[in-house]
Each structure stands twice: as structure tokens, then as C-alpha cells.
Symmetry: C2
Subunit: 362 residues, 2 copies
Amino acid sequence: MTVTLADVAHRAQVSPATVSRVLNGNYPVATATRERVLRAVTELDYVVNGPASSLAAATSDLVGILVNDIADPFFGILAGAAQSRIGAPAGAGRAGGEKLAVVCNTGGSPERELTYLTLLQRQRAAAVILTGGAIEDAGHSAAVASKLAKLAAAGTRIVLCGRPALPEDGTVPPSEGGTVTATLTFDNRGGARRLTEHLLNLGHTRIGYVAGPAERTTTRHRLEGHRDALREAGLPYDPSLTLHGPYDRASGQDALPRLLSTAPDLTAVVAANDTIALGVCASARTRGLRIPDDLSVAGFDDLPSATDTVPALTTVRLPLHEAGARAGLLATTATPPTGPGGVEPVPAELVVRESTGVVRGG
Amino acid sequence: MTVTLADVAHRAQVSPATVSRVLNGNYPVATATRERVLRAVTELDYVVNGPASSLAAATSDLVGILVNDIADPFFGILAGAAQSRIGAPAGAGRAGGEKLAVVCNTGGSPERELTYLTLLQRQRAAAVILTGGAIEDAGHSAAVASKLAKLAAAGTRIVLCGRPALPEDGTVPPSEGGTVTATLTFDNRGGARRLTEHLLNLGHTRIGYVAGPAERTTTRHRLEGHRDALREAGLPYDPSLTLHGPYDRASGQDALPRLLSTAPDLTAVVAANDTIALGVCASARTRGLRIPDDLSVAGFDDLPSATDTVPALTTVRLPLHEAGARAGLLATTATPPTGPGGVEPVPAELVVRESTGVVRGG
DNA sequence: CTGTTAGCGCATTCAG
DNA sequence: CTGAATGCGCTAACAG
């Protein structure tokens, strides 16, 4: 029924070994022979049996990209860029030696993150890219670190993109194996600091902050940057001005009324990402607040939608496309990471648009 | 180095076959034995070798979800819903018999679509879900149909979600094998028709249309619905009022000025999707056009961002989450599709918000 | 309910 | 440069 390597070999009048060699191209084969084999492959419409090949070679061409929320363009851009660097280069009709880059949506669930890692481990994945903030739970972190160590020990390349490097504090016994290949860390803290500085320069002193989920590294780092700026300016940090919630629109929408009831004197709101900021803007509209005249609003990430608000959002740009592409590269080729400890910093750039202005009452 | 089934069997004092049985749970095993095996598995930290298992069983637990643009929430929502119905149910710590649901981003490229299908075929994928509009090129359609037939023949379940059913016109010789498992067709045409009718009821007669890429089924169906409404109202269809472009924001932004220069008397613009509509709105703002007083704007899909425009977008709601979940279900379980020919229609509902109003000059 | 026996299809040694 | 032989780790009949 299904055509195998042996069938191709038979038709091409060569041994299975030779067919394998031309297919993998890792070995010298006479041109004439190669062509004969290739012809047989086409004629028979032969497709390699991946599992068999992976079993024999003890490696697969699967590359997993884990994301927290596939419906969020932040991850979509990252994953898309990584995937385009890895898999299926356009034009490769026959699907030669390409890797199969796939994205796995954890939905932000620690369990699913681990499950996906196990599934990928089971498949003997060639590489795994973990994107976005990590969950800061001691138990879970240890579990992930241990899992990654095992994956690495089994030859899987590991790239962290947008999350901090794993601690090398012996959390994972060296006996457990390999180590993370490369880490791309976003300058969340610095970006957030510059953003809040921008607001302070505009005269704002009562600034609300709509943070992400409490247990995420991204959330913490961005918030820390915010507090850094406040501290440097000699301003106190008022915890009641910070609200936590998911990285979504509704979170921003819910937050604004609550912030304003707590602190009616608020003149600016910083959202932990653009999506939340959109929610804040929507809520501001509902309340008849003009942006930036009555309220300055800022986001983070500089997603395409940041220019859909009225007015366009002041935010912090993360080079998501570049970072994703780089992650894809590091995951597949032997390119060594450049930074110390394999950690490459990714810059965050303040982008001032129209949603922030000098404090009202001037 | 790496622990195998045999190691577990040895430690649990049973045969490899028994271990396999408890792991797959498809066979009766004495509780005591099962527990002993499970304990050995934990102690040894055993992880199934996927390729070996797939090879022996001639099936894998991989489910591929193909999307046209992973950075587009339309696909993110669809894929996320499908994936959550398939893979890694939260709480399954050990990663038991779950399937590995992965999304593959074709970026709208026909070549990559085919390459991914080949890669999935190579992996002997358990199922493949193709989402979103199909490319209307005779050659490519035939290639895809042929590929799908082979996949189906090899036991892979095929679900089409958001694209029309494959023609059963003998394009693919029956000898080539199986057939599509199920198809979820979105009522793009009907939704588009109702949307334009809504505009006509408001008195608009000069309506611009910003369509998607010309060669996509989704594009064509939505445009047809628009024209249907026009025709039924006895209005002529003016091709110069239709512009084609990608399904993105920039497309809408570029289109409005061009439409207005062609037809300064335009009172409404229909965009082929919400993302394009956001671009149209942005462009309108730039030109100082008030929505809906000066210009009515409508979108399609009802993405979360449809409420981010000012004012909120009139659009057509597609139950993306439900459709994605249904696709995931059909792809994995033996649930038979309900409709004739395995085609289940997905309704499209007009959602009137504030971006459309009665024609100006009243 | 459990053990034994065979392969699954391919990538590698190793010889030629 | 090419062929023959071996085994990757697991599942699926068969017995028992």
C-alpha cells in the first residue's frame, strides 16, 4: 500500500542504503545514480516515513515554539518570524531537509507548558523555543528547568526568547544534563523605566499602572522599571495605583474605573502592554475622558494595533520580528549566541506618540 | 544513557508488552501490575520514544493546524480553540495519551502550504486542520486536493475550517484514496450580503469595498455577498469602487484615499475584514472624516479589536472560537460531522455598532 | 490478564 | 562510490 524506501531502491536498481544517502544528501553519491533515484522517488511519489527515520537516526526535524497566547499578536509575530526562519523555505516544492517548525499554545498554563515540553521530548524534537514571560513559581520553574536540562541532554537545542536566562545556581543537578543553547532577554525593565521617565518629564506624578499577571517575569520586570523611574525621581511608589490582571483588553477596561475611584487625581496610566492599553483607552472614551488632555495613556510592545487608538499610543517598541527570527536561527543552525553565557539582550525603545502629553491643569 | 521501555519492564518485573499496555491504556491490565509499572516509570523518569512508537503503531499523535497568518487574531483564535480541544488538557501532568496539536504558519504562501502538508504527511500526522480561505489557483488547488487525498488515504483525518468543501468532481482520481473528514464552511457570502443590506437600508448607495487578496475564496465569497445585496437592491456594481489588497491594516489605510479620489461621493466603505477596517478608520481620522457622520465603515469577523475603533465597528460576527473548537473535535474524535457530505455551515451574524449611520446630507 | 515473537521503515556501520 | 547486514524502541498479533 504505502511506498517505502525499499520500493524506491528496487525501482532505481540500487540498494536502500543508496536511496537513503541521496535523500539525506550527507554522503557522496554518483550524479547518475542520484538522478535515477530521484526519478524513482518522483515516479513512485515517495514520502519519507518520518517516525522510522527519526527512530533510526535518533533525531527528528521537529522544532517546537511555545507561546503563552496564540491569539495575541505579540506571540504571533514572534512565532511567525521564528517559523519563517526555520521551516519550509518558500519554493522548496519537494520538502527536502526542512525542519517542521510548529507552534504550541500553552494558554499561559504551567501544566500545559510542561505537557508540551514532555510531548516535544517524546518526539525527540530538534529544538524548542520558549517565548514570552516565564511563570514565577518555584515548583514550576524547577520543573521546567529540569525538563529543559533533560531535553538538552538528549540533544534538543533550547532557546529562550523574551524570558530571563535560567539560573545556574544548581537548581538542576549537572548530572541531569545539557544546558540552554541561547537566551534572548528583552529589556523590559529598561524600557518600562524610560517610559515612566517620559511621563514624569511631562509633569505626571500620579501614575496608575495596569500590570500583567502577578506571577510572570515580564510583569515583574516591567513593573520594576516603572518603580525604578519613580524612585529615581524621588517619588513614592503607591501600591494602590497598581492593578494586576491578564494581558488582555478587558483587563485595561476594568482597571481604569477602579484606578480612578481609588485615585481621582490620576493624570496618567501606564499599561503593561499595548493590548491592555487599548482597553484603558476604550474605558477612557466611555467616561468621556480625552486622551491625552484629561489622561495620558501608554502601552508596551508597539504592536501594529498601537496606532489604532485615537490618538496613537505612546509605547515601548520591542523588535519582535527580529527577535523571533534570531531565535529561529539560534534554534536551528550551529550559530553560536553572541553574549556572555549565551544571553543576547534585545533592546526596548521608547516610542512617543500622541497618547501622552503634559499634565493637565497647566 | 536514555531509558527505554525495556528498562521499565525490567524494573517493574514485567514484559515490555505489559508496560506498553499500561502506557497506552488500551488494554486490560491488573491494577497491581499497573501501579508497579507506573512506579517504575516515575522512578526511571521514562519518556516514551515517539518515533519508535509511531513507527510500530503506524500512526502518530501529531495534529497539524495550518493557518494563513499566525499574527492575525482571526487565525490565533481559531487555532487556539482547536488546540485546546485537542492537545494537552490542562491537569494532565504526565502527558498521557494526548495528541500534540501544533500550528503551522503558511504565511499565505501556496508553496509553504504544500510543504507543510508534505511534512505532516511524512510524520504520518493523525489529523490536519486547514483554516481560512483557500487559494484559488487551479494548479495549486489540484495539488492540495491530491495531497489531502493521499493523507486521508494514509489514515490522516482532514478537517477544513473556513474554506469551502473540496469539489467532488473527479479532480482527484478516487484511486488516490480517502476523502476529507469534515468541512466547516463560514457563511461569508450571507454575512457580507446582510452587511451591505444594512448599509443600503441606511441610505448608502455609493459604497467602497476594500477586498482581500484576489485569489482567495474568502475574498471572493465576501465580495459576492456584497454584490448580491447591491443587485437585489437594483443598484449597479461599480468595479472601480472595489480595491484588492492583503488582509491587513495597511491595506485599509492605503485604500481609503484611493477610493475617495476615484469616488469623492462615497458615503460608506465595507472592508473585507476588521483589520482592514481599522486601517480605513485610521485613514479616515487622518483626513478629518468623522465616522459615521461623514463616512460609514464596516468590517468582518468581529475580532476583539472591532471595539477598539472610535466608534466601535459594525461588523459581521463569525463564531471563531466555536468553529475552531468544533474543528478540533472533528479532527480527533470519531464524532461524525452532521451536515450532508460532512459539511457543517457556520453562521455569520450582522453586528451593528456605531461606525455605520444614515447617509449624510439627510 | 500477561509473556513471546516479530517486524514497522530507515540510517548506519562495515565491507567491498 | 555502493551493497549487505544490523538494530533503533516500540506495538501487535499470538499464544498461554
